[in-house]
Subunit: 480 residues, 2 copies
């Protein structure tokens, strides 16, 4: 993918989206008219207007950066999305496919025939091809591989051999390599002969004759040092580098921490095999934060907001089913105490307060813990200190808020003992929420799971069942 300097957008993206939607509307109105008046003499005129609208829309799209076209495609419902997709020039298809989200990409590729896909993919680099390969029809991938030279083919294979969350799957191959025993002047002349440098080239990679990485030459140093000096005297040795089987997320954290633009990727013999760039890392950071939000709510993956009803159901049903089971369990806990509720119906009205506050407080704790874990700030060494702190916060909240609601219950039902039970139950359930809010994500991590996964559903399950049991149990013990 050749890079074009992004130009200052004259209007906001929202405005441009609105314009596209308007042109699409006009287009549809004309189409409706044409269909209704089929066979009449006005056909020709309508067709002309129709074509003018499409041409205007097409011009609009041509002016937009690929990333902006991708944004517009994301924000349109399926039917409009495909209409716009048809208008995009074929040679831009590849770039745009790389920019859209997985779920939208699927809808676009489903709309293309093999010939179109081949045309879209032919200008892509090896790493970009590898990104798309998983979603392309198998025989198209096969045909694409045939058209590549041996090195490119090897690179695509290599990129495909890594898991999605490994450095190897995110690296590209656009490294500019130099030798250490030449002068900066020679390097400058060499670069001039290249005519174009890859995007995000903030450093050149210094390798020996076997391709082993010796160091990096930051462009900054190339520019400010005397051209007579040797690369070896100016280069940075021992730069931050990664292995292709390292976790991409750790690389992203290093980029963030050390403010990097690009880093070399080396194999276990130290041979340079690719590079990572900040743009891929930014996307990763963004995706990771999003996954955290979605997982906590029990959504499996990012959902295209205009995804079909069926797709949405599949994405959401798993945690709903789990929630159904936990809700049923909570209901059975209440069932145990039906006798007490029959005698004192106020219990039925008060019990959701105990459960609800516990759930809210537990969600606050678990959100904080999951966040700290995502930032690597939590080691098992400080678990007990953290539990003590959370328990202290809950105890105070329980006594204060539990006290308030206890007084309200006392006044409402004219029973100080009911008020006392309420306060005690609130406090105990908040303590339970704090304990589980720390232990649930810790346990998930120890089991090798994602701590955010359904954390919210699980903590709510505990605080519901626990809250009902504590409150109704105390009431049965002391009030019956």
């Amino acid at each position: 993918m050749t890079e074009v300097e992004a130009k200052k957008p004259q209007e906001s993206l929202q405005d441009r989206l609105a314009q596209v939607v308007e042109l699409l509307q006009r287009h549809k109105v004309v189409e409706d008219l044409t269909q209704r008046q089929e066979g009449q003499h006005s056909d020709l005129v309508e067709n002309l207007v129709h074509r003018q609208n499409l041409a205007e829309l097409q011009r609009k799209l041509e002016d937009l950066h690929s990333a902006d076209v991708a944004y517009i495609l994301e924000a349109l419902p399926l039917e409009d999305r495909l209409a716009v997709w048809q208008l995009v020039k074929a040679e831009r298809d590849g770039d745009i496919l790389l920019e859209v989200s997985d779920s939208v990409r699927e809808t676009l590729i489903a709309d293309m025939d093999d010939h179109e896909i081949l045309a879209a993919a032919k200008d892509l680099d090896a790493d970009e091809l590898a990104d798309l390969a998983a979603e392309l029809p198998r025989d198209v991938v096969h045909e694409l591989m045939e058209t590549l030279d041996a090195q490119q083919r090897e690179r695509v294979r290599s990129a495909l051999s890594y898991e999605e969350d490994q450095v190897g799957a995110l690296m590209d191959f656009e490294m500019v390599t130099i030798r250490e025993d030449v002068t900066l002047e020679v390097v400058l002349r060499y670069l001039r002969r290249l005519k174009e440098l890859p995007g995000h080239t903030d450093k050149l990679f210094v390798v020996d004759y076997d391709g082993v990485l010796k160091g990096v030459l930051p462009i900054k140093r190339l520019l400010v040092n005397d051209p007579e000096r040797l690369v070896v005297d100016v280069m940075a040795t021992d730069p931050v580098s990664f292995h292709p089987d390292e976790e991409a997320l750790e690389a992203a954290q290093a980029f963030e921490r050390y403010d990097l633009i690009s880093t070399p990727v080396v194999d276990k013999n130290g041979k340079l095999i690719g590079r990572l760039t900040i743009d891929e890392m930014v996307d990763l950071i963004r995706e990771e934060s999003e996954a955290e939000v979605l997982n906590m709510a029990g959504l499996r993956e990012e959902e295209d907001i205009f995804a079909s009803v069926w797709r949405s159901l599949r994405n959401r049903w798993a945690w709903l089913a789990i929630n159904l089971i936990t809700a049923f369990l909570a209901s059975r806990v209440i069932g145990l105490f039906e006798g007490s509720i029959e005698k004192l119906v106020a219990l039925a009205a008060l019990m959701p307060i105990v459960a609800g506050i516990g759930g809210n407080s537990g969600n606050q704790t678990i959100t904080m813990i999951v966040r700290a874990m995502a930032l690597d700030q939590l080691s098992t060494g400080n678990t007990s200190r953290l539990i003590r702190k959370e328990l202290a916060v809950s105890l105070i909240n329980g006594v204060i808020w539990g006290g308030v609601i206890g007084i309200v219950a006392w006044v409402l039902y004219d029973s100080w003992s009911l008020g006392l039970v309420m306060t005690a139950a609130m406090t105990l359930n908040l303590l339970l929420a704090a304990l589980m809010g720390v232990l649930i994500p810790m346990t998930l991590v120890r089991m090798g799971r994602d701590p955010a996964m359904g954390a919210s559903v699980m903590i709510t399950a505990v605080t519901d069942s626990g809250g009902f049991f504590i409150f109704l149990g105390l009431a049965t013990l002391f009030l019956m």
Copy 2:
């Protein structure tokens, strides 16, 4: 802040944190011993061991990048944190203060006297000073300003005059500017005279004699073009640029979308006044995603996991109080139907299922909508389509899962009419959850609020009260 090339870390951050904790432990054991044996002859020996430990810890810290020291400070409880902070060389204090989170920075600054703060701040750039200024004692800021030259002082003032979420607050002033009527050769010679280029210099800014931005010269173009050519013939005109009063988040999105490294910031006359760099934007993207997670759970701000109990209480109490009120309202809804519950106690056991599933489903919907809003994918134009889709998903879920739980209720309580009421109530509450899951964030946005703010607490309030009302209402109508 001068930049050092980050070196490849030999061990993971977690390992280094563990080492620091271990050295601190050893240090503390020795301290305890020393205190116990006070006045005894072993004092000298203990003191020696003590000092050796500290010296080793200090060496460890010196080897670490400022960002890594910041990470370690974040992960340590207050007492250990301050012990480590005392060991950090004074000249690194400024850099490290810039790297830590707001809540940790506060604890560190509270531990420093004015003299230490002044020393830490004296090597910082104007934009970095402005970042710290809000948290420094007022008279220290005053004294710092005195030491600056007029241009620096003006820059600090200007940076301080913008809101935290505006471009002006995040820009730095390390621009390298050139004229358009010189050759690339002249530019290359000029850069060599600078000795050092600012970090993230991927382009030079081309300005006229009045400082008005004419274009940018990407370093890539400087390197590959013939040195005899003029800047004006090679530069990119009309680059992406920002005004200081634009929203920083929009700038961050542009960086992400167009894969930018740095952009000029210009005033309304087109005069170059600063630049934005990708590192600040990455931090912003990260912070924004985090704020979303925290806000949805009803936490006001990022909480240092070792924050004091008191601080944690303040951070969390607001939404807990709101939750208490909504839970109380839900309880009063149940109170309305106490007569029905007395007659049929099964209602008390079944009602939390209706409320719980509604809450879970509503949270899924609202999470998705808030996410789409954060990505600017939702305009008001597509609201009704979205509501229709969410209602369809809920209807299907309601009929299926409501049916399942209806059958269970039928079997459990041997009443098909109770089962039917259960199914109907589940379906209606899921529809309510879907509707409110779309409308709550949309309404918050229209009111100019953050759609994530307490979204989870609010949707749960609606599905609880609504669920109880629907279920108990239907039961009273059809079963009594």
